[in-house]
C-alpha cells in the first residue's frame, strides 16, 4: 500500500511541476512550447538530457542483467555509453543546436530537408524515425505498467483480486499515459524539462540509497561481495572462471561500441538539444553525463551481483533457478530493506520509466512541423495555432500509443535493442552532414535505404527479434548495419553531383 501511495504522490508531483513550469515560466509561444524558447541553462540541460537517455533499463534491467551475466554489463553498456554519448553531444549535438538556432529548426527532418535540399528525403527520414520511436514508446508504456503492478502487489486486494491486489498493468499504463499526456499537453518542452529534472534526481538518489541500505542489511559491502566470491565467482569476471564459460567474447564486447551511437539520431534527444540556451550550456552535459551514468549503473550492477548470493535466514533471496531478471531488484528491496523503503524505491523505478514525455512531445512536434505545417504551409499557422496543433497531436499520440501497447505482443520487448540498432545505422548520415561537404542527397538516400535493408535482413535472421543472442560472426548486428550504411553513403556521394556551393556555404562557414 505504501508503494501505491508513494507512486501516486510522485505522479501528482509531476502534474504539479508540469503545471508550475507552464504557468510560471511559459511565454505562450510556439517556440516555448516546442523547444522551451531555447532558454535552458546548463543544469536543466544536463538533467533533461540524462533523464531522456535513461530508461526503465537503467535501474530494473541493469540489476537483472548483472544478476544474470555479471559485472561485464557495466563495461558493455554503461562505460561505452559514457564515452560515446558525450562524444555525440560534443561533436554532433552542439553543432545541430547551432544550426537549429541559426535557421529555426525544431526537428531533425527540418534540418535534413534544408541540409540536403530535399523535401522527399525529409519524408523518408520521417517514416524511418517515427517507425523506430513507436516500439520504443510502447515498451516504455508496458514497462511502466508492469513496474507498477509488481510494486503494488497486495495494495488493494478487494479492488483487484485477480492480480493479488496489485494495480493491473493495463490500468497502470493508462495512468502513466494520462499523467504524462497532461503535463506535456499543458507545458510542452518546458514541462518535460522540469519533469526530467525530477525524474533524474529521483532515480539517481534512490538507487544510491538502495545500495547503502541493502549493503548494511547484508552485513556490509565487503561481506556481500565475499559471498559472491564464494558462491558465484563467475559473475565477478567477464572471462571463464570457476568452471563457467566466458560471459562474453572479446569481439562482442568491442562491437557494443556501435550501440550508443544511436543517441546521435534520437529525435527526442535532438529536440532536447534545441532547448539549450547557448552552445556553452552543453559543456556541463558532456562533462557530467558519463559520471551520472556511473552513479546510476554502478550501484545497480553491485546490487545485481549481490543478488546472486544474498541470503536471509540461510535462504537465497533470489531462489536457484529463478528465471525473470526484471524482478530481481524488487526481490532484493522486498527482503533486505524496511517495509516502507519498497515504496520509496518504487518512485525511483517508476521515474526511470517516464522517458515517455519527450517521446510524446517529439512525435507531436514531428507530425505538426514535418507533415502538417510543411505540406499545408507554415504561414497558415500563427503561434497559437502551432501550439494548438502540437496539443492535438499529443492527444492523438497518447491515445494511439496506449492502444498499441494494449494489443502489443510480449515479444515487443525484443524490439528494444533493434530500435537502437536502427538509430545507430543513421549515425553515418548525421555525422557526414555536419563534417563532410561532399555528402549528396543521393548518398543520403542510399545510406538510409541500405541501413533499412541490412537492418531488415538481420532482423529476420534473428527470428524477427526473438533470438536474443543473435550475432553476426560474433558481432552485434549493429556493426555491419552501421558500416554498410556508411559505405553506401560515401560511395554514392562520391559518384554523384556535389551539392550547390550556396548550400555548402550555409553549413560550412569559412575558416577564421
Amino acid at each position: 500500500m505504501f508503494a501505491l501511495v508513494m507512486i501516486s504522490l510522485y505522479l501528482l508531483a509531476l502534474l504539479l511541476i508540469g503545471r508550475w513550469a507552464h504557468v510560471g515560466y511559459s511565454r505562450h509561444t510556439a517556440s516555448d512550447y516546442y523547444v522551451a524558447s531555447r532558454s535552458l541553462g546548463p543544469f536543466m540541460l544536463v538533467m533533461s538530457i540524462f533523464g531522456t537517455t535513461m530508461t526503465s533499463f537503467a535501474l530494473v534491467g541493469s540489476t537483472g542483467e548483472a544478476w544474470r551475466e555479471g559485472i561485464g554489463v557495466y563495461g558493455l553498456m554503461a562505460s561505452w555509453s559514457g564515452i560515446i554519448h558525450s562524444a555525440c553531444f560534443f561533436l554532433i549535438g552542439v553543432k545541430l543546436w547551432h544550426f537549429g538556432k541559426l535557421y529555426g529548426y525544431n526537428t531533425q527532418v527540418q534540418y535534413f530537408r534544408d541540409r540536403l535540399q530535399s523535401p522527399t528525403f525529409g519524408l523518408l527520414l520521417f517514416v524511418v524515425v517515427v517507425s523506430l520511436v513507436i516500439p520504443y514508446i510502447i515498451i516504455n508504456i508496458l514497462a511502466a505498467g508492469e513496474t507498477i503492478q509488481i510494486l503494488t502487489k497486495g495494495a488493494l486486494p478487494s479492488l483487484f483480486p485477480g492480480t493479488a491486489g496489485a494495480v493491473p498493468q493495463a490500468l497502470g499504463s493508462a495512468v502513466i499515459c494520462f499523467v504524462v499526456f497532461v503535463y506535456v499537453f499543458g507545458g510542452g518542452a518546458r514541462s518535460t524539462a522540469w519533469a526530467n529534472v525530477m525524474q533524474t534526481l529521483s532515480f539517481m538518489v534512490l538507487g544510491l540509497i538502495a545500495l547503502v541500505v541493502i549493503a548494511i542489511n547484508l552485513g556490509g559491502p565487503v561481506a556481500a561481495s565475499q559471498q559472491v566470491a564464494e558462491l558465484r565467482p563467475d559473475l565477478l569476471v567477464r572471462g571463464a572462471a570457476a568452471g563457467h564459460e566466458a560471459r562474453i567474447s572479446h569481439l562482442e564486447f568491442l562491437s557494443y561500441v556501435f550501440v550508443p551511437l544511436s543517441v546521435a539520431m534520437f529525435p527526442h534527444l535532438f529536440q532536447n538539444w534545441m532547448t539549450a540556451k547557448s552552445a556553452k550550456a552543453f559543456r556541463v552535459t558532456v562533462m557530467l553525463h558519463p559520471v551520472f551514468i556511473m552513479l546510476v549503473w554502478a550501484p545497480c550492477i553491485l546490487l545485481g551481483i549481490w543478488a546472486s548470493s544474498a541470503m536471509v535466514d540461510g535462504q537465497l533471496v533470489v531462489p536457484l533457478g529463478w528465471k525473470d531478471p526484471n524482478k530481481v531488484l524488487g526481490m532484493m528491496v522486498d527482503r533486505l530493506t524496511p517495509p516502507f523503503f519498497a515504496g520509496v524505491l518504487a518512485v525511483g523505478v517508476v521515474a526511470s520509466t517516464l522517458a515517455l514525455d519527450t517521446q510524446f512531445l517529439v512525435l507531436a512536434t514531428m507530425f505538426s512541423h514535418d507533415i502538417v505545417m510543411h505540406y499545408f504551409g507554415r504561414e497558415r499557422f500563427d503561434d497559437q495555432k502551432q501550439i494548438l496543433l502540437g496539443r492535438v497531436f499529443v492527444v492523438v499520440i497518447a491515445v494511439i500509443a496506449y492502444l498499441l501497447s494494449a494489443f502489443a505482443p510480449r515479444s515487443v520487448f525484443t524490439l528494444g535493442v533493434w530500435c537502437f540498432t536502427g538509430f545507430s545505422s543513421l549515425f553515418p548520415l548525421v555525422f557526414a552532414s555536419l563534417y563532410w561537404k561532399r555528402l549528396t542527397k543521393l548518398g543520403a538516400f542510399t545510406s538510409v535505404l541500405t541501413a533499412l535493408a541490412v537492418w531488415l535482413y538481420f532482423f529476420q535472421e534473428a527470428n524477427w527479434g526473438l533470438s536474443r543472442d543473435y550475432r553476426f560472426h560474433g558481432l552485434m548486428p549493429v556493426v555491419p548495419t552501421v558500416l554498410a550504411s556508411a559505405l553506401a553513403l560515401v560511395v554514392v556521394s562520391l559518384l554523384t553531383k556535389p551539392p550547390a556551393a550556396e548550400v555548402v556555404g550555409r553549413f560550412f562557414p569559412k575558416d577564421a
Partner: protein, 84 residues
C-alpha cells in the same frame, strides 16, 4: 591563422588522440579473468570501468573548453521563428 585557431586545431588533434586512447583502454583484457575485489567489495573489472566513465567525463570536459569550435564562440544572432 589566428592564435585561437592554431590552439583549436592543435587541441582538436590532442582530443582525437585521447579519444582513441580511451577506446583502446576500454578493452581491458588484462582484467578479463581477474576476479579480485578492491577495497574488499568492488570487483576490479567494475572499478576499472567506473574510472573509464570518469575519464570520459574529464576528456569531454577538457575538450569542451580547449577544443571548442571557434565558430561557436559567438552565439548565432538570428533566432529564427520556429520551423522552416
Amino acid at each position: 591563422m589566428t592564435a585561437l585557431a592554431r590552439n583549436y586545431y592543435r587541441n582538436r588533434n590532442i582530443m582525437w588522440v585521447l579519444f582513441v586512447l580511451l577506446l583502446v583502454l576500454h578493452h581491458d583484457w588484462w582484467f578479463w579473468n581477474d576476479g579480485r575485489l578492491v577495497f574488499g567489495f568492488l570487483p576490479i573489472g567494475l572499478g576499472y570501468h567506473m574510472l573509464i566513465s570518469v575519464a570520459a567525463g574529464l576528456l569531454w570536459g577538457w575538450a569542451s573548453f580547449y577544443a571548442w569550435p571557434p565558430e561557436l564562440e559567438g552565439e548565432p544572432e538570428k533566432d529564427a521563428a520556429s520551423g522552416t
